[in-house]
């Protein structure tokens, strides 16, 4: 085993100047800018859902989109704050109010539209496009966040991964509601919330391993 003074010597010998991280909120805004860019690109390539103007006049829809967007923004800020060693872990709770509103709107819509869910008219068949949209937004956003937060590997990978997963899921869900035409809210529930749970769970379970893998590159 190397002695501590020797270790210090080797660390000192290998200490080129480093660039300080910008404030976490600024970095979170950077990531959100990237997310906005992704959504804009999708809007150009993918058509917006045809009934968007109509839906934007419905308060539940607007509240739902606003809440999922707010969840994404707050969760992104929370992840960047959590990745800094001396910030409080209570920041993990930052997106919770928005998350609560978001889940409530999904639940509310589900309750109201429950009657329309006849076995025959479930709008399946559109899943491939839906899934492609999820992957198209989710993968680049996850990668960007992983790379921006790779230093968290040694510190609090699980916490950061949970909150990062929530940020990606919320932004993806926002994209889904803008671009994709879902009438049955059970499908919205499955897609939106299922993806969110999946991403957050993936983050929580594999965050430690993924972060240490990325940090080694």
């Amino acid at each position: 085993m190397i002695t501590t003074p020797d270790l210090i010597e080797s660390l000192v010998a290998n200490s080129p100047p480093v660039r300080r991280l910008r404030p976490p909120v600024a970095r979170a805004l950077g990531w959100l800018l990237f997310a906005a860019l992704m959504l804009a690109l999708l809007a150009v390539s993918h058509d917006l859902r045809p009934d968007l103007a109509l839906r934007l006049q419905q308060p539940e829809f607007v509240i739902g989109i606003a809440a999922s967007l707010a969840t994404g923004v707050l969760a992104a800020i929370a992840s960047f704050l959590l990745s800094i060693p001396d910030r409080s872990r209570v920041w993990l709770l930052l997106p919770l109010p928005a998350l609560f509103v978001w889940v409530s709107t999904i639940g509310y819509g589900c309750l109201v539209n429950w009657v329309s869910l006849q076995p025959g008219n479930m709008p399946f068949g559109d899943e491939a496009g839906c899934f492609a949209l999820l992957v198209l937004t989710g993968v680049p956003l996850s990668l960007a966040m992983l790379i921006m937060l790779r230093h968290a590997a040694l510190l609090a990978p699980t916490r950061v991964a949970i909150s990062g997963g929530l940020a990606v899921a919320a932004v993806t869900a926002t994209a889904l509601s803008i671009f994709h035409n879902h009438d049955a809210s059970a499908i919205i529930l499955i897609w939106n919330f299922g993806t969110a749970v999946l991403l957050v769970a993936l983050g929580g379970l594999t965050g430690r391993r993924i972060f240490s893998w990325i940090a080694q590159r």
């Binding site: 085993m1 190397i2 501590t4 003074p5 270790l7 210090i8 010597e9 660390l11 000192v12 010998a13 290998n14 200490s15 080129p16 100047p17 480093v18 660039r19 300080r20 991280l21 404030p23 990745s83 800094i84 060693p85 001396d86 230093h151 040694l154 510190l155 609090a156």
Partner: protein, 207 residues
């Protein structure tokens, strides 16, 4: 420490002075780290050397096994090195340092807990020392094996070993006691040792 203060309230003033000293340290450390981030190696060396005892005291408080304390200190130092760009010089250095150190100490405890579940600790009672009496059990079993081997020797050889080696008689004394000639005793001893070597050696290979 001034003697005038000690009459008023020594405990309080001591605590105050200690925290004042630590915050002074922290300010130094913060400046050192800011310089180290800009590539000042001397400042970095001083910082690492000064925080090492502090890290050690943090680790000693939470790591039960003394030999693991130094591992935890080194782990913390390496981590601090790896994430030194996350320190913001506008913020106090202490919380940053303590957060990293505690994180690594807990991680280390978990890791050692996992390996520890598959290992048996070497306690004081398991330790063996160079002093022969510490290995009494082994020595006793070897002695018994030797005694049994001697018992199995032919009569003349056994007699020779018993008189010359175990009772440590001279050849003349042994000759007088046993009635054998000196030459016969020598030959018997030689053969006895050869037989013993063969018996014990074969036993060794068997076990």
């Amino acid at each position: 420490m001034s003697s005038g203060q000690s009459s008023r309230g020594p405990a309080l003033s001591l605590v105050k002075e200690r925290s004042a000293a630590r915050s002074a340290h922290e300010l130094d450390w913060s400046i050192y780290m800011a310089r180290a981030q800009d590539g000042d190696r001397e400042a970095y060396r001083r910082l690492l050397e000064e925080i090492t005892p502090y890290l050690r005291s943090l680790a000693t408080r939470r790591v039960p096994n003394r030999s693991d304390v130094e591992d935890a200190v080194q782990d913390a130092l390496v981590t601090i090195h790896a994430v030194r760009h996350t320190y913001d010089p506008a913020r106090p250095f202490g919380p940053w340092l303590v957060a990293i150190a505690n994180r690594r100490i807990v991680d280390g405890l978990r890791r050692r807990g996992r390996t520890g579940a598959r290992e048996t600790p070497l306690d004081a009672e398991h330790e063996t020392f160079a002093a022969p009496e510490a290995n009494y059990h082994e020595a006793a079993s070897e002695a018994r094996a030797l005694r049994e081997a001697v018992e199995r020797l032919p009569l003349g050889q056994r007699e020779a070993v018993r008189l010359l080696k175990l009772k440590e008689m001279s050849l003349k004394e042994a000759a007088a006691v046993s009635g054998m000639t000196v030459a016969a005793l020598k030959v018997a001893t030689h053969r006895a040792l050869k037989t013993l070597r063969k018996m014990l050696g074969r036993q060794d290979r068997r076990t």
